[in-house]
């Protein structure tokens, strides 16, 4: 299969869906000629024109609400927030309006929109451009939350998200944009259902439950530890909401040892939900060690590259945590 980048995969997902459906529009800050801060939408303005690929003023609250309003009335809107940190400015429209409208209006209307935003550290952009805020949106009924870890998943999950009749918060990973992976040919229309975890590596000794950029990192650790005879199963949840509890529980029962890994600050992170899902299930009786969490340190993301690299789970830390479980 051909190999393309995560960014290219996202571009193809949007472009293919927009070719197929004239009701889909795309808006965001500098998504037009500039192609988006991370180049994800390069070429789309040229192909679809200013009516469908719209550069917006720097107004996160209004463009999120604008997307919700357009989607409530018949369009399908993709809105890009340049950095997920700036969702902090859009939470009112996302949480009180987009997420709740269908419910609070007694089922009138729906809000088929996708809010795309890149999260994560590692680019030297520091405290206000590097947060991982998925736990916030995963706590809001009415929203779906997706975080892909490979180009293949990125394309398949984004297509599904665009076709979903609900607001979907699609959190991309800055450090994965340039990573390459196998993806079917353009136009070869495949999708990946939300709520279906993917076992990225089968193993029998320990289960690592993770998502986003911690997936490739966990896989790397798994390969290294395989040499030491430690057989790790890496489960990529892919969507936080809906969450594929069955797959997590099944894997936990199989290995009896679970490590949850994510980049977001550990305290209050989504890891707590994942741990709870496991220990509040019959898997509890199969566990022969405490369920471990390994999240980012509870500090803002610092600027200095060495510091920045060490406040999130490193291969070393993941390796140590795994060995700790054995």
């Amino acid at each position: 299969m051909r190999e393309i980048t995560y960014a290219q995969a996202l571009n193809e997902a949007m472009s293919e869906e927009m070719r197929a459906d004239k009701n889909i529009i795309f808006m965001g800050e500098d998504v037009g000629v500039y192609g988006g801060a991370f180049g994800v939408s390069r070429g789309m303005f040229e192909e679809f024109g200013p009516e469908r690929v719209m550069d917006t003023p720097i107004s996160e609250l209004a463009i999120t609400g604008c997307a919700a309003g357009a989607s409530m009335t018949g369009l399908i809107t993709i809105v890009e927030i340049m950095f997920s940190d700036f969702m902090t400015l859009a939470m009112e429209q996302l949480v009180n309006q987009a997420a709740k409208n269908r419910f609070q209006f007694g089922g009138q209307g729906s809000v088929p929109m996708v809010l795309r935003a890149p999260g994560g550290s590692g680019t030297g952009a520091a405290e206000q451009h590097s947060q991982s805020l998925e736990a916030w949106v995963a706590h809001v009924p009415g929203l779906k939350v997706v975080i892909p870890s490979t180009p293949y998943d990125a394309k398949g999950l984004l297509k599904t998200s665009i076709r979903d009749p609900n607001p979907v918060v699609f959190l991309e990973q800055k450090l994965l944009y340039r990573t390459k992976g196998p993806v079917p040919e353009i136009g070869d229309d495949y999708t990946i259902p939300l709520g279906k975890a993917d076992i990225k590596r089968e193993g029998k000794d320990v289960t690592i439950i993770t998502y986003g950029r911690m997936v490739p990192r966990s896989l790397k650790v798994a390969e290294d530890l395989a040499k030491e005879g430690i057989d790790i199963e890496v489960v990529d949840i892919r969507s936080l909401v809906p969450l594929d509890k069955e797959t997590l529980i099944k894997s936990a029962k199989k290995t009896g040892k679970v490590l949850v890994v994510h980049e977001a600050c550990q305290t209050g992170g989504f890891g707590g939900e994942l741990v709870s899902v496991v220990v509040d299930s019959d898997a509890f009786f199969y566990l022969d060690a405490p369920v471990r969490r390994l999240g980012g340190l509870d500090v803002p993301i610092p600027y200095n590259p060495n510091l920045e690299a060490q406040v999130v789970p490193t291969e070393e830390k993941i390796t140590a945590a795994v060995k700790d479980l054995l």
């Binding site: 529009i25 009516e51 719209m54 917006t56 003023p57 107004s59 609250l61 209004a62 463009i63 999120t64 609400g65 604008c66 997307a67 919700a68 309003g69 357009a70 989607s71 409530m72 009335t73 018949g74 369009l75 809107t77 009112e92 429209q93 009180n96 309006q97 409208n101 269908r102 419910f103 609070q104 209006f105 007694g106 089922g107 009138q108 209307g109 729906s110 809000v111 088929p112 009924p141 009415g142 779906k144 009749p165 609900n166």
Partner: protein, 318 residues
């Protein structure tokens, strides 16, 4: 523009229905039939009724928390409004939303909002869709003077102006945001001047003159479809407290009474008689009809079933 007798009847009836609806709602609170709160627009009936009566079904409106006049103006079903207020299964939101979330997509109401200014960004999106589909309709967004101090107001008006979206922004300036006078919350006297900051046309009208509001809205719609968005500020006054519980220590009885003199319904009534458009009898008939409509709504709501907890997960997701 001279209005037809029918249109005058419609305006008067809708205002009176709104007044009776709220007086009745207030009574239901006292009777303990409703929990939660409600925000009444008594004294402000001309705003929502005048604007919405000039619209078509295909024109959208975004309502406020104080929007019974807006909903009735847009021809919502009073029975279902009352049922929602009572939290009943037959209400517009199946009892899940209450009167801060009343919506009727079938008549073009995209919903009331519990968040001050919360509907303003949504309005730009509805208008974007109308423009994208080259529709000949507009989106009307209601909000209050207090909401005009929210960032949502600024970002949305700027976006609408930059994109020439067909939105009529209607600011019902009832002089207070809860207990806070506009004299305290802003350093300007006329909110419509904010339009200039977006390159948008802004006008300021007497918010208690239903006929003029209707006529100006007809003109505004035409202007907007040709030139882009516009801000219309309607000067009016809230007679009752902000919500159920309000001691109103922030204003004087005199001020309230002065404004009661300017009652929009009384004023329209006198106008109709003076101009000989309707007779006393005809108007009394409308008063009577309003009474009956509300009575019917109360009975409808009273006799409607409660929503069932079994259905609670319906509509969380489509």
């Amino acid at each position: 523009m001279k209005l037809s007798k029918e249109k005058h009847k419609e305006l008067y009836l809708k205002m009176m229905q709104t007044r009776r609806f709220e007086e009745t709602a207030a009574r239901l609170f006292v009777e303990g039939k409703v929990h939660g709160t409600a925000h009444f627009c008594i004294g402000e009936e001309a705003t929502g009724v005048g604007v919405c009566s000039a619209l078509e079904v295909e024109d959208y409106i975004l309502q406020t928390h104080r929007g019974h006049n807006q909903g009735i103006g847009k021809n919502m079903d009073i029975n279902r409004m009352m049922a929602e207020f009572r939290g009943k299964e037959t209400g517009y939101c199946k009892g899940k939303g209450g009167c801060m979330h009343i919506a009727d997509f079938s008549v073009g109401s995209l919903g009331a909002n519990g968040v001050v200014g919360g509907g303003i960004p949504i309005a730009t999106g509805a208008a974007l869709k109308q423009k994208y589909n080259k529709e000949k309709n507009i989106t009307v967004c209601f909000f209050g003077d207090g909401a005009s101090n929210e960032g949502a107001f600024h970002e949305s008006l700027n976006l609408a102006a930059a994109w020439k979206l067909p939105v009529l922004f209607v600011c019902t300036n009832n002089q207070y945001g809860m207990s806070t006078s506009t004299k305290i919350s802003m350093a300007i006297n006329d909110i419509s001047i904010r339009a200039a900051g977006y390159g948008m046309k802004g006008i300021n009208l007497d918010g208690n003159d239903v006929v003029n509001i209707y006529n100006e809205t007809v003109k505004a719609k035409k202007y907007i479809l040709e030139n882009g968005p516009m801000l219309m500020v309607l000067e009016t006054y809230r007679w009752m407290g902000h919500s159920k519980s309000d001691a109103q220590l922030y204003r004087t009885k005199e001020e309230v009474n002065e404004w009661k003199e300017k009652c929009p319904i009384k004023r329209h009534r006198e106008f109709l008689l003076a101009e000989g458009i309707l007779t006393e009898a005809e108007i009394d008939a409308l008063d009577k009809q309003a009474e009956e409509d509300i009575k019917r709504a109360v009975d409808f709501a009273e006799n409607s079933p409660e929503p069932k907890i079994e259905d609670i997960f319906d509509d969380v997701y489509a």
